[in-house]
């Protein structure tokens, strides 16, 4: 215990937010079987149809094999050693207000700067906090309810809004979609649900903070957001994870549905624990995020800043079904140490005059390996589709790697598809110029990299943009020289 404490102390210096909270977790035994799925469903008090869907997913998953095509290397995951469910213990029937939330939990969020208290109303942020697997606190419900916006843990939505969940869950990412999404469909623990009714502009930015905390607990978050006709919602998702020795599997699914004239903006700052210098530990982040622009003139915009995780595997995508619908993807992915990222997007143009924009900024430092993988697909009937893609890579040091795999599949001759790509190294000239103005090397690197990412950061809500810039700066400390 004492030696591991020392190690943890040491490691914590490197990963500022790598602390764990001592909350007694109510966990299932490790392993995955039909019983596991039944147990999860039962604990959450789910209706029969939900259990059936989970079981269908599990059975399908058992026929699938883990994908090997991503440009990442990792030791095989033992799915039987993972704990699939863990919930903070409740006193009585669960918290009815913040006063009833475990103070230690609130303290954790305090350290992370998560706005969960009353004063945060001023910041206009509503937080649906997923701690381990169960949502323990949901705030600002009333303000949202006044507008008819439903924002709650998906476990509650399953009980209270079954018609919406049945209609949309799995409609964008079917339970058969891919290995990790299927696994998630079987065992998802909790996540957020949001429905914005016709013509409503959601009065505040919605945000969710995730933490993986209990040892060996995979976190299988499931998020479903629906913007009805003419609705608008901006959703923020931020993650940091505590220090951990074992690899932690994170296989989330996010589904977005935008109907006629609706707009969804989904922003992520991801800072899961990336592992130590040698790549030990660290989160495996296998995420399926997809949005369907079902309606005419609908719009979905993904913005992500990925600075953590040992492995990042995610391709937030847009299915542009509605005529004149718009898809956007803005991404910053940073890999350092032994981190590996294979990330990008898919823009699938189906409707007429659909437009998509892809701006990807990959930064590699240390032994990091960064891959952009993107698909622009223009279907036969997608008259007048347009895409603009820009993929820039920046290398820091000479042991890292950057790769770009842009796939373009155009089946309609009227399509306009543009692709630009650059690779640059942080120049000695730039560093010297900044040094000559008295700026330290660390600040200089941070400045250059943040400048490189500016086009993406400007898409983030203000407070998120600031956080993202800080994260990049902290992440790159000691990367040069």
């Amino acid at each position: 215990m004492s030696s591991s404490t020392t190690i943890n102390d040491f490691a914590n210096q490197q990963y500022k937010w790598g602390f764990t909270t001592d909350i007694e977790a109510e966990s299932l035994a490790p392993g995955l079987s039909e019983d596991t799925v039944r147990a999860i469903s039962a604990r959450k008090g789910e209706p029969e149809w939900m259990l059936e869907w989970r079981m269908k997913s599990l059975r399908h998953w058992l026929t699938m094999i883990e994908p090997r095509w991503p440009n990442v290397k990792y030791t095989p995951i033992d799915y039987q050693s993972i704990v699939y469910y863990s919930a903070p213990k409740k006193r009585g029937s669960g918290p009815k207000s913040l006063d009833e939330v475990d103070p230690k939990l609130l303290e954790t969020y305090e350290k992370l700067g998560v706005p969960i208290e009353e004063r945060k109303i001023l910041a206009g942020v509503a937080v649906d906090a997923v701690f381990d697997s169960v949502s323990v606190a949901t705030t600002f419900q009333q303000a949202l309810a006044d507008k008819g916006v439903i924002f709650c843990p998906i476990s509650e939505a399953i009980k209270n809004h079954p018609e919406l969940v049945k209609k949309y869950l799995g409609s964008v990412v079917p339970y058969t979609d891919n290995y990790f999404a299927t696994l998630n469909s079987a065992v998802f623990s909790d996540g957020s649900f949001c429905y914005v009714p016709k013509g409503v502009r959601c009065p505040m930015e919605l945000s969710t903070y995730f933490r993986i905390n209990a040892r060996n607990t995979g976190q299988f978050v499931r998020t479903l957001i629906i913007a009805d006709e003419g609705a608008y919602v901006s959703y923020l998702e931020g993650c940091t994870a505590p220090m951990r020795d074992e690899n932690q599997l994170h296989a989330a699914v996010v589904e977005l549905v935008a109907l006629d004239g609706a707009e969804i903006k989904y922003s992520t700052v991801q800072n899961w624990y990336p592992g130590d210098e040698e790549g030990r530990g660290g989160v495996y982040n296998f995420v399926t995020k997809r949005g369907a622009c079902r309606g005419r003139r609908s719009k979905i915009s993904w913005t992500q800043v990925e600075t953590g995780s040992a492995i990042t595997w995610k391709y937030p995508s847009c299915i542009l079904q509605g005529d004149e619908s718009v898809g956007e993807f803005y991404s910053v992915a940073l890999t350092k140490g032994r981190m590996q990222a294979d990330t990008g997007t898919k823009m699938v143009h189906i409707g007429k005059n659909t437009r998509s924009t892809i701006v990807s900024k990959g930064i590699s430092a240390g032994h990091g390996n960064n891959t952009y993988r993107g698909l622009v697909h223009v279907a036969k009937k997608a008259e007048g589709a347009r895409n603009y893609s820009q993929c820039d890579s920046m290398l820091i040091g000479d042991k890292c790697g950057a790769h770009t795999f842009p796939y373009v599949d155009v089946r309609n001759a009227s399509a306009q598809v543009e692709h630009e790509a650059t690779t640059s190294k942080i120049g000695e000239d730039q560093l010297f110029y900044l040094a000559q103005r008295g700026i330290s090397e660390e600040d200089a690197v941070s400045m250059i990299v943040n400048g490189f990412c500016k086009e993406v950061f400007k898409e983030l809500p203000m407070e998120f943009a600031i956080e993202a810039q800080k994260l990049l700066g902290v992440s790159l400390e000691g990367s040069v020289g």
């Binding site: 730039q430 010297f432 040094a435 000559q436 103005r437 008295g438 090397e441 400045m447």
Partner: protein, 255 residues
Amino acid sequence: MSLLEIKNLHARIEDREILKGIDLVVNPGEVHAIMGPNGSGKSTLAGVLAGRETYTVTEGEVVYDGQNLLEMEPEIRARAGIFLAFQYPVEIPGVNNTYFLRSALNAARKHRGEDEISSEEFLKLVREKMQLVKMDESLLKRSVNEGFSGGEKKRNEVFQMAVLEPKLAILDETDSGLDIDALRIVAEGVNSLRGGDRGIVVVTHYQRLLNYIVPDFVHVLVNGRVIKSGGKELALELEREGYGWVEEEALSPES
């Protein structure tokens, strides 16, 4: 005490020796011009003083403001008051010019044990200094040097110098690529910063800049050595006669 004292300075890039024993003393308030043909080592000297790592100092010493300059990191030299106006100012995409300059100023203030400058104070300072080089305010909002014309970049250098108020300013070929109007404006900017204890070293190939920034001393650098030093009239001689005659003069032992 002199501001800068260079003694027998030798420096090389990889295996090639560029500076072969430079001696130079700059006292507070003096303006020195270093002139010389291409490849004589002028820019190397500027780079060595600013601490560029491409150059290796093999011999000699440099004392700046009582300190051993060669032991100081480039950013420390900058904070201690050495400013290099670059011959080729570097573009830094996405980094706001104002933000960059404020970071630079605050780094120097912190070094001197002063508080960071407030937003209002900084804005006031910036507005005032922009007048000196007649710089367009829109350049403040742009990324550092990105998409600036040659003239705008040079003005931006002198503008930064004006804001940072260095003790020792080194201008490396600040006249290159400037038309006559821009040259005049930049020179006026520099002149307004003359005086007091500030030392200025102007590195240039041509005499024309020295019509505007009139130096107290002129040094001719050829093949890594200062072969002739004199007053401002030396620059005019060089302009008339070219570098050939000084080289010959330096080579003949009788002279």
